[in-house]
Subunit: 199 residues, 2 copies
């Protein structure tokens, strides 16, 4: 049984675009669906969708409202259950405050990035910490071409890349969330791994 | 270094729908993008998209053609590289034959399913087999509400569910592919796990 709270946040600002300009990205519908379902599967404590724009908030509320309150909720109650974990906020600061308030614990911000960065924490270490420490881990996922360097600097820790030794590192954010959450919170197959026997 | 070939196939027939009727599902654009990128990241030997309908083949060819030969290929060469692994076929039989021909090895069909099924192989066992045996593993992923029981019966093996002990098992096929391929072919973090030391 893990002792920490684990939250994930999907960020749309400040992101890089392909030319390394700082941009606000638009919401991708399937990001919401896929990540909410991952969060529900692995008992993540909350899935923050962070977007500064009011019009994008309206769009997101329409999408999630259809599944939570509209026809979608009766047609597919599993989707409703997943979307109940989704919390829509304007800023990362709001997400941090909500995580702190809900958990009553200090919030540790952990960025994810496809490149090796300073302040790296390994999957193994973070998985152990989630089980052994009593904290609220808020794991940040970027869209576009990744999280802006200034925000990476502000995070306490940066998770190691998914497969650092590979020649190609261009997974979608949906795939990255799936793999990272599985590595950190997966229970089934990791029981076979000796390093978690003390967990 | 693994000794086996590993292929993945995304099936659109024969699938169940929500009422357990047998249906052909439509192609989802982001399935193609996300799964091609996963396949390229983890050095999967081929990604078969299996669809019986000619009009869906045309749609898929337009999507992939944009990224392989059109403007998309010069705008985003990483996507082009990923889509070069995508092979479009009408039937599973075609995929089996192509995998056999390319690898020169016996093809083992392994289904995936969200439910526990007979003929289950564990992640641990399949990961070991991929490294120790010399075979061509063709891992089947369903769309809609899952792969029809007759086809499950025809597979030599069925992979255990991703998180069998959980109360919610409704991941998207995109998330399922990401997690399963990472568990089977991931190199980085699994080096910390003792049971793979002999691999």
């Amino acid at each position: 049984m893990r002792r920490s709270y684990v939250y994930i946040a999907l960020l749309h600002y400040p992101m890089y675009n392909k030319r390394m300009d700082v941009v606000t990205t638009s919401v991708t519908n399937l990001d919401l669906h896929d990540i909410a379902r991952i969060a529900r599967t692995y008992d993540v404590d909350g899935f923050f969708v962070v977007h500064p724009s009011e019009s994008q908030h309206q769009l997101i509320s329409e999408i999630t409202g259809f599944w939570k309150e509209g026809y979608g909720g009766s047609y597919n109650p599993d989707r409703k259950e997943a979307f109940e974990l989704l919390k829509l906020v304007h800023t990362l600061q709001e997400a941090i405050e909500m995580a702190a308030q809900e958990s009553g614990l200090p919030v540790v911000m952990i960025a994810t990035d496809a490149q090796v960065q300073p302040k790296t924490i390994s999957f193994k270490q973070l998985k152990q910490d989630i089980h052994n420490e009593e904290k609220a881990y808020l794991i940040l996922f970027g869209t576009g071409w990744g999280i802006h360097g200034d925000l990476l600097q502000r995070c306490q820790l940066i998770l190691e890349p998914i497969e650092a030794g590979r020649s190609y590192n261009h997974l979608s954010v949906r795939s990255a969330v799936a793999i990272i959450v599985d590595r950190l919170l997966g229970e089934n197959w990791y029981k076979h791994t000796d390093f978690l026997e003390h967990v």
